[in-house]
Subunit: 450 residues, 2 copies
């Protein structure tokens, strides 16, 4: 009999772990336990379903449970909620329909993901206060907001901004509340976030910055008012986008150590503090490639890779190492693409660097070639070493994704301003100016060296 | 009196050298000698003028000579052709209008660029056989081809392909001759070039591969036939796109050493074999970042950077070093973007690596997000070290430029397959699949490790 691998959670990390374990160990008995009806899911697509870009919520998952089970010979159990991990006896207990089922494991992978944060304020239990988590909940979410005329979005992070766009696409009046002075407060510097503010306002979003939500009021158990430090606003629905926290309930019950970020502590092999138990994805913490410090990012690409590492190591021992993250991320806000990697200028200062920065505007094609647009790039470097620490880019063209990934590739390999200047990037009049916008940013940042 | 810096050639490298020297030495007397009427020119834009995308040939230059002279306090001499360098007396001799003018130099930068290769075949002197070199010649080129109904393009390199597209845009019948079995013979592998063949044929280009042009025939001194090993073709004009060679005539006369590539030998400071003489741009050789071997690439981004290094060092001594190139390049062939960096699989083998490669097709957005297209990526690595040696990408979306530059950034920093897999690239449903296409290529290349 093969090694018994049990994976709790069928999202990005769990499905990746299962697939990888199967690929590396044809003999293993692999069981994937998922509490919802979908696997290989991620919340990233939900705003596009709500906004009408994606028609069928089932499309948001990459595989159906049946395909995944058949093609990879994995025992997939959907609608199966694990409620306890018995570490001593190497068993998990799950509710399936009306009954409790036990799964014996030799190796366990915890991939329970993250939960939307619900602010601990008065009225937060009212109906009509909505969160995004799982794709199968998306149709209900859409139904709820479709009936509304005014919707409050609380929180100006990626999900908040994407939901604001989705709701405007549905013709709703949208009030966006952010308690910090700018949207994307933890991932962007204020100067760059201001470009996003303009785009939001241009597209009819009523923007409330520096305005903390302190409560909700309702009628008949349904929300009808958002209360902030500054006033009260009548709304029909509220969408929460104030971030997520790792869903560590099971892990804590099983006695696993949490890290300083409150996510499950793991080492680079995705091993937890308990032998034979791995954790991966949004439930686990990771570390920043620049600072080496522990960090928590709930982003699908990292979850997938952590899942690969956990799945590989579950069957092969210490076979793969996860190197860490830069927190590279992108979102589309109406017509703007908004992307970042590494440290913001503020973070760099907080981390003890002496940051210098340059912000430039550059065209995406040769000056004479039609169709080019202007993008804004902020590049941050450490003054003493010249090491590039972070980049933020905002512009109305999908090429922003390419640019941020070039920056992430360079920063991930420890590039300095010199390295960016000399990076051998491509040029043709229809695709770039002869001085690539990132190279232009590096030139300005070099203070006259280039 | 400041140091006298004389720069021969006002193209990309020469103009960059002049600008950089001025920036780093406010006292220097800087003279830029250009034989044509434009400065900061490059031939890259000519096909877009010929094809009608760009309306005014003057737009192809970045600065007018007057702006450049005024804003940077540079003595710009257009229509001034240097015909001799007197090394002993540190003087160059130039023809300006009817007279000969001498320019004294303390430091000299040679940036005479490259010349189109004219195949040494019978009839190559006939009228109607056209080459691309300088933007101010573009209007004449366009006039010539406008009168034609059938045009032969000889050579399937970047310029040949771009001219084929331009000519089709003008409604011409186009015959493209390539002596090798595939287009882009020195920069792409055959499997990837085949995708370009399909696009050419789909757009009405009559493709003649494996067919060497052995001569031209004419009537009244004007070409009217292309003669190949396989037959004769009646045409009205011929456009040569068989490559360029460094314009080393002046450098050789001055006794400068040429390198093994027949371009002017330079070290990483852009110093030539003669003290106080620098060379930069398409006249100079460079070296490959992967193999360390001398190479010749006539590409504008490298020319600009070599110019920067030469200009800086001309006034500051050994201030900047040019690290070398990967030969990153992109071209647009009708609706396809065609890009490459590093070594092809064939080159990798010739260089003594044991290359492995993977070719994948991937979508440019999440599977459920509309507007995504399919791109084809070939990734080549060294089997023993895992080092990525080269990438080729073909697809109908400008994001191909972003992808090739990510690859170039990674390869330039010595990335392995592992590094590509773990590169923290961005993801959002409108901008990428959750497994970035380059990461998918690295996974396939890892042969099951990922």
């Amino acid at each position: 009999m093969g090694r018994r691998v049990v994976i709790i959670g069928g999202g990005a990390a769990g499905a990746s772990a299962a697939a990888r374990a199967r690929r590396l160990d044809p003999e293993a008995e692999i069981t994937l336990l998922e509490k919802g009806p979908f696997i290989s899911h991620a919340p990233c697509g939900i705003p596009y379903y709500v906004g009408g870009v994606v028609k069928d919520a089932q499309e948001l998952a990459i595989y159906t449970p049946e395909e995944f089970a058949r093609e990879r010979r994995i025992n997939v159990k959907i609608n199966t909620e694990v409620f306890d991990i018995d570490v001593k006896n190497q068993v998990v207990l799950a509710r399936e329909g009306g009954s409790v089922v036990k799964y014996q494991w030799d190796v366990l992978v915890i991939a329970t993901g993250a939960k939307p944060i619900v602010p601990p304020v008065e009225g937060n239990e009212l109906n009509g206060i909505l969160t995004l988590r799982l794709p199968h909940e998306a149709p209900r979410l859409r139904e709820e907001v479709e009936r509304a005329s005014t919707v409050a979005v609380v929180g100006g992070g990626y999900i908040g901004l994407e939901m604001a766009e989705a709701l405007r696409n549905l013709g709703k009046k949208v009030l966006l509340f952010e308690m910090m002075p700018h949207v994307l407060p933890t991932t962007f510097d204020e100067d760059m976030a201001k470009l996003v503010h303009e785009e939001l306002v241009r597209n009819g979003v009523e923007l409330h910055l520096n305005e903390k939500v302190v409560g909700f009021r309702g009628v008949n158990g349904h929300v009808n008012k958002v209360v902030t430090e500054k006033g009260e606003y009548t709304v029909d629905k509220v969408v929460l986008g104030v971030g997520v926290r790792p869903d560590t309930e099971l892990a804590e019950k099983a006695g696993l150590r949490l890290g300083e970020t409150k996510a499950v502590w793991v080492n680079e092999y995705m091993e937890t503090s308990v032998p034979n138990i791995y954790a991966a994805g949004d439930v686990a913490e990771t570390w920043n490639l620049i600072t080496g410090k522990r960090t928590y990012v709930a982003l699908a690409p990292a979850a997938n890779k952590m899942g690969q590492v956990a799945g590989a190591n579950a069957v092969k021992g210490r076979f793969l190492k996860f190197p860490g993250v830069l927190g590279t991320a992108i979102t589309k806000v109406f017509n703007l693409y908004v992307a970042r990697t590494g440290l913001t200028e503020r973070q760099a200062r907080e981390e003890g660097f002496k940051p210098i920065s340059a912000t430039i505007k550059a065209r995406t094609t040769a000056h004479y070639y039609p169709g080019g647009v202007q993008v804004t790039i902020k590049m941050i470097a450490d003054e003493s070493s010249g090491r590039v620490l972070g980049v933020q880019i905002v512009g109305p063209d999908k090429i922003v994704a390419g640019y941020i990934d070039i920056a992430a590739a360079l920063i991930g390999k420890g590039a300095t301003i010199d390295d960016v200047f000399f990076a051998d990037l491509s040029y043709a009049p229809p695709t770039a100016p002869v001085w690539h916008p990132l190279i232009t940013a590096a030139r300005v940042l070099s203070k006259g060296k280039y």
